[in-house]
């Protein structure tokens, strides 16, 4: 075989492996997608129907769990992004021993086993209500817990942007008479925006994904994860098939569109840069 032919085979084999892996990864989700269009309790075809999709929004348990999950994820991701971005800037200017301690704190939060985190939060919330501070179970406990364990991920997402930031920008803001808060809000935040968006997205997903921490601190409300877990034993409602398909398709389309738009924008700015260059 010639070298060129060898290289060609390598490329074909490589691409085949990649697409095969994608196929395996998506197979379970596609099977569920197909069976979302039939109403039988087990995975057997009993005629085409879109009943399950309307059930998602009318099923009282599922629709309320969906609302709870989204509210908690949005609230905790927003809080985590705000606190985490501020912390990221603050930690940047901390001196050594304290800086290391705070970073170790973040690392513990990220690496700690979920179940340890979950129990630790539960014991804390019990102790807090034992000393007489009212802290209702449910939204408050879950939003606090999710915010706390997602902040370190926001810090990780913002840090690379922060390192590339021109330190004089902050000085400039102050020199032009803006206070610290205003400088942060009007000068630094816009510069860190892409990192903050990434951080928000990570925090939001982690909150949606979370099961163990929610399970231990949910009080009387259910999230999607805890609802699925609690209904395993009594057999999963087929409505979950439609729910999982809706989530799957939404995520897939959103991510692909977002990706297409951002790569289009990158291409445009590249072309613009080249055009400007040739004018020079």
């Amino acid at each position: 075989m010639t070298n060129v032919a060898k290289k060609k085979t390598k490329v074909v084999v490589g691409r085949t492996i990649i697409w095969l892996s994608i196929a395996i990864l998506y197979l379970p989700l596609l099977v569920i997608l197909v069976f979302s269009f039939t109403t039988s309790n087990t995975m057997t075809w009993s005629g085409f129907s879109t009943q399950l999709f309307s059930n998602v929004f009318t099923h009282p348990e599922i629709s309320s769990a969906l609302t709870n999950t989204l509210i908690i994820a949005l609230a905790s991701a927003a809080l985590a992004t705000l606190i985490g971005t501020l912390a990221s800037v603050g930690i940047f200017y901390l001196k050594k021993p304290l800086k290391q301690i705070v970073n170790a704190g973040s690392q513990i939060t990220i690496l700690n086993a979920d179940i340890v985190t979950a129990i630790a939060f539960m014991l804390l919330f019990i102790s807090i209500s034992n000393i007489g501070i009212p802290l209702p179970d449910g939204y408050p406990t879950l939003i606090i817990a999710h915010t706390v364990f997602t902040i370190p991920f926001v810090i990780l997402a913002v840090n690379p942007k922060l390192r590339r930031l021109n330190p004089n920008l902050y000085e400039a803001g102050l020199d032009l008479g803006a206070g610290h808060m205003r400088t942060m809000w009007t000068v630094i935040f816009p510069q860190l925006l892409t990192g903050m968006i990434t951080g928000f997205a990570i925090a939001f997903t982690l909150s949606l994904e979370d099961f163990i921490v929610s399970q231990y601190n949910k009080g009387s409300i259910e999230t999607i994860s805890t609802l699925i877990y609690s209904s395993i034993s009594r057999g999963l409602d087929p409505t979950f098939r439609a729910l999982s398909s809706i989530v799957f398709v939404t995520v897939l389309v959103a991510m692909l569109v977002f990706n297409a738009v951002s790569s289009q924008r990158a291409k445009l700015s590249e072309r613009l840069r080249r055009a400007l260059h040739s004018v020079k």
């Binding site: 990864l25 379970p28 690496l111 086993a113 804390l124 699925i228 395993i232 999982s244």
Partner: protein
């Protein structure tokens, strides 16, 4: 000069809300956890919870099974993800970031929904509940966490190292073993950490895909908690915490040594 010092002093204040949060919601809970773990059934301060746990054969069985399953999961993920990451980062095979994104998208779907989908698929294929199904479920769930750090480090690798290798007469195998593999160690370490750690505490996948034979650390804590034996559950959680701390130390040491040796290579 004094003005700049004053400014810096102000700026680090932005981290204070987080520091307060860390103390109240991360450090204090761990002390409360330790407190519960150190109080026996009579309400006295003692190590009896730990002694009971360490004297029970169940504890060792549970730890053994959990470590084995987590180890196998991590190993299979690594074996599957490394070649794939190599292919994805190879410019002549894949230039598209969208394809990489396709591997990450399932992470955005709730893992219980994904496990539920997998369970339906496995039962259609005639694979019932059992160890093998749990293993498939764990690998399916954690695979992207292994792939991503590997892809990041392999695609960001300076091509000139490999070119230098082949210029000096290394075969592509030698080039891989002596150049690419050592340079990718930080990615391997973070991939292992990101797969192994969540594997240690997972129990929902076992509940959904396993039969009654496999009893994991997460199951044990969860059951103790369900039986209102919080002190034992806390002691068990403390043991896990110490274990996580040790893994963290080893991981950090590994990464630092690697950064140092990379620095050495550059000089």
């Amino acid at each position: 000069m004094t003005q700049i010092k004053k400014l810096q002093f102000q700026r680090k204040h932005f981290s204070y809300p987080y520091i307060v949060i860390c103390v109240v919601f991360v450090v204090i809970p761990l002390f409360i956890l330790a407190g519960y773990a150190l109080i026996d059934s009579d309400g006295n301060l003692s190590l009896s919870n730990f002694v009971d746990l360490l004297n029970s054969a169940t504890t060792y069985m549970v730890f053994g099974q959990t470590l084995m399953l987590s180890f196998l999961t991590t190993l299979i993920c690594l074996i599957l993800a490394y070649p794939l990451a190599l292919l994805l980062s190879n410019a002549s095979i894949n230039r598209s970031r969208t394809i990489v994104l396709l591997f990450i998208i399932p992470m955005w779907i709730n893992f219980l929904l994904r496990t539920f989908a997998l369970r339906e698929l496995l039962s259609m294929l005639g694979l019932g509940e059992g160890y093998f199904s749990v293993l498939i479920g764990m690998v399916y769930d954690l695979f992207p966490f292994m792939l991503l750090p590997l892809y990041t480090i392999l695609s960001g690798m300076d091509k000139s190292y490999k070119e230098a290798g082949s210029d000096l007469g290394a075969s592509s195998w030698q080039n891989f073993v002596r150049v690419t593999l050592p340079l990718s160690v930080p990615g391997i370490v973070s991939g292992i950490m990101m797969t192994f750690m969540p594997a240690l505490s997972s129990f929902a996948i076992n509940d959904m895909l396993g039969d009654a034979h496999l009893f994991l650390f997460g199951n044990m804590v969860n059951d103790l908690y369900g039986l209102n034996m919080w002190n034992y559950a806390s002691a068990l959680a403390m043991i896990m915490l110490i274990f996580v701390g040790l893994v963290m130390l080893v991981g950090n040491r590994f990464n630092r040594r690697n950064i140092r040796s990379l620095g050495g290579a550059k000089q």
